[in-house]
Symmetry: C2
Subunit: 324 residues, 2 copies
């Protein structure tokens, strides 16, 4: 049985990463109130969360700054305004999307920045472009992760090549990203074992970012814990694109390190996530997301179905399977 069998103890290497603003921002175009962000940061401090991802470092020449909230761009000054001198110990992360960020300009040396961790997101066919950002960020002094998206669509042989390249890069952490919510714990375990092989060889840490299309985001995350994955993404109330992510409240309840305090997540959800939902922001498990997850497809069609307020689920499934 897996290490996890010893459910009473904990592994001190575990790191919880709050991705609420970044993945949640994809459903409200990053228009969070300052109060929301400030309280989220405080909550993470009290809850023992290790990292808070503030959003993307998106290229302002590619994206209209008037059409998105500020966390799409994560100016250092905007982060400083929330975190001050970071007394609560929560480290700051941002995401740099391959092909969608001007990293040489927009990511300043770590000594001048509130950011601790740069998370480089890429598809498996963009690895060299990811390495370019990884090297730049590392040279500037950051902790760096490489987050390989849409992993369920990749051939295992391609994953191995990708891991070999990233293994040789200065990245600290390599992420499994189940963008489509298509993995079952058992299939995820097999990819984990491939990742483990390269993590051992190149002395890297591993991370997991799950989506909840089949109500398996939490289950897959704890499966990954048992497989030796240390960096665990979660969001409050599961807020995130489409079916959303692993719920922070479930993850904190599960982790046995006494530094994690799930009651803080309940407080935050009660005061900030429930009202956000009531204001009309929509995410979470629903049949259309189950379907794209089951079919191992990008959720964009399901997101469109949701936006159009369609409820003809069976018809949608026919569309998906005919297009398949």
């Amino acid at each position: 049985m897996k290490e996890l069998s010893n459910l009473m103890n904990f592994r001190p290497d575990i790191r919880v990463v709050d991705a609420t603003l970044r993945d949640g921002g994809l459903v409200n175009d990053f228009f969070f109130t300052d109060e929301f962000v400030r309280e989220l940061y405080k909550t993470n401090g009290k809850a023992g969360v290790d990292y808070m991802e503030f959003g993307y470092k998106a290229d302002k020449e590619m994206f209209d700054v008037d059409k998105f909230g500020k966390w799409k761009f994560c100016n250092d000054d905007d982060i400083y305004e929330i975190v001050g001198d970071k007394e609560n110990g929560v480290k700051v992360a941002v995401m740099a999307d391959v092909g969608r960020c001007n990293f040489r300009e927009d990511i300043r040396p770590r000594s001048d920045s509130p950011i601790d961790l740069v998370r480089v997101a890429c598809y498996v066919h963009q690895i060299p472009a990811a390495v370019e950002i990884i090297e730049d960020a590392k040279a500037k002094g950051y902790e760096v992760s490489c987050n390989i998206m849409a992993l369920s669509n990749c051939q295992e042989s391609d994953i191995r090549v990708a891991l070999d390249i990233i293994g040789k890069s200065p990245a600290d952490v390599i992420y499994l990203v189940d963008s489509f919510g298509a993995f079952y714990p058992e299939s995820l375990a097999r990819v984990c074992s491939v990742y483990e092989e390269f993590a051992t060889k190149f002395n890297k840490k591993l991370g997991i970012h799950a989506h909840n299309n089949q109500q398996l985001a939490f289950a897959n995350t704890i499966e990954a814990v048992g497989d030796g994955v240390d960096y665990l993404d979660a969001t409050y109330g599961g807020m995130g694109r489409g079916a959303g992510n692993c719920q922070m409240e479930l993850l904190l309840g599960f982790l046995k390190n006494p530094k994690y305090r799930e009651i803080e997540s309940f407080k935050f959800i009660e005061k900030y996530i429930v009202p956000l939902r009531e204001s009309g922001v929509v995410w979470g498990y629903d049949l259309q997301y189950l379907m794209t997850g089951l079919l191992n497809q990008h959720p964009r069609t399901a997101i469109a179905f949701t936006k159009e307020k369609r409820t003809d689920y069976a018809e949608f499934y026919k569309e998906l399977t005919l297009l398949d």
Copy 2:
């Protein structure tokens, strides 16, 4: 790795049991319309579902027939009216709750009844009373299962004694029931291995009935599949007490036997489950159920919290942990 690793194939011994009326009835006092029940039965036929549980055989001297819909009592005639001569091949199940049914009178010989499977539900301290019903039902010609509830609260040594007694009884199937939604896949796997030991010794089949307090009902069900459990309970839309059950739509999507057709579940949910929710019937994952699951408690306090329409989650968690 587990048998499940071969995700492309299937085990023909798998049986899917629709528990929508029985567990779902606990949230609407069994007041389903005849149309709902009729369409559910048809759906199960088209979807390839093996058994449909109609409800309880509750003792009419203990429960007021005017306060519940008819599926609390499952008169044979009421079942006949729905299933006719059972041309669609779906077998009929009912639940007999230890201490709450008049089984000698209310369960007639199988030759006079539409019922195929009698599911005997008991707590671990009620095993001899369960065996009495098991023997009675078996003598009357039924398939019989014994469903041990609240398993997460039992000592492993007590479970072993219970399984030894049930193993010697004529029951065909022994169920693991995670009444509190407290198991993680890893902890469930350990109980499964104990069950497996007795199933092998006494030539019994195993079953799983999961609750979704920690969004693990589906994950735990597929974990059990990988551990050799064949009888799988699910409900459409996860309808069931508190946080509800393993979603039929997820399970049918997962199972690879081509007889299972998930699109039929989408149709039924669209036409009958969505309107039921919109009419005000409440079930499903919410923080209060997460909390009782996490604390391995009966969900009754969380159900009361829901009924009172409270939303002070953090306060409720304090109440639970102070009472703990």
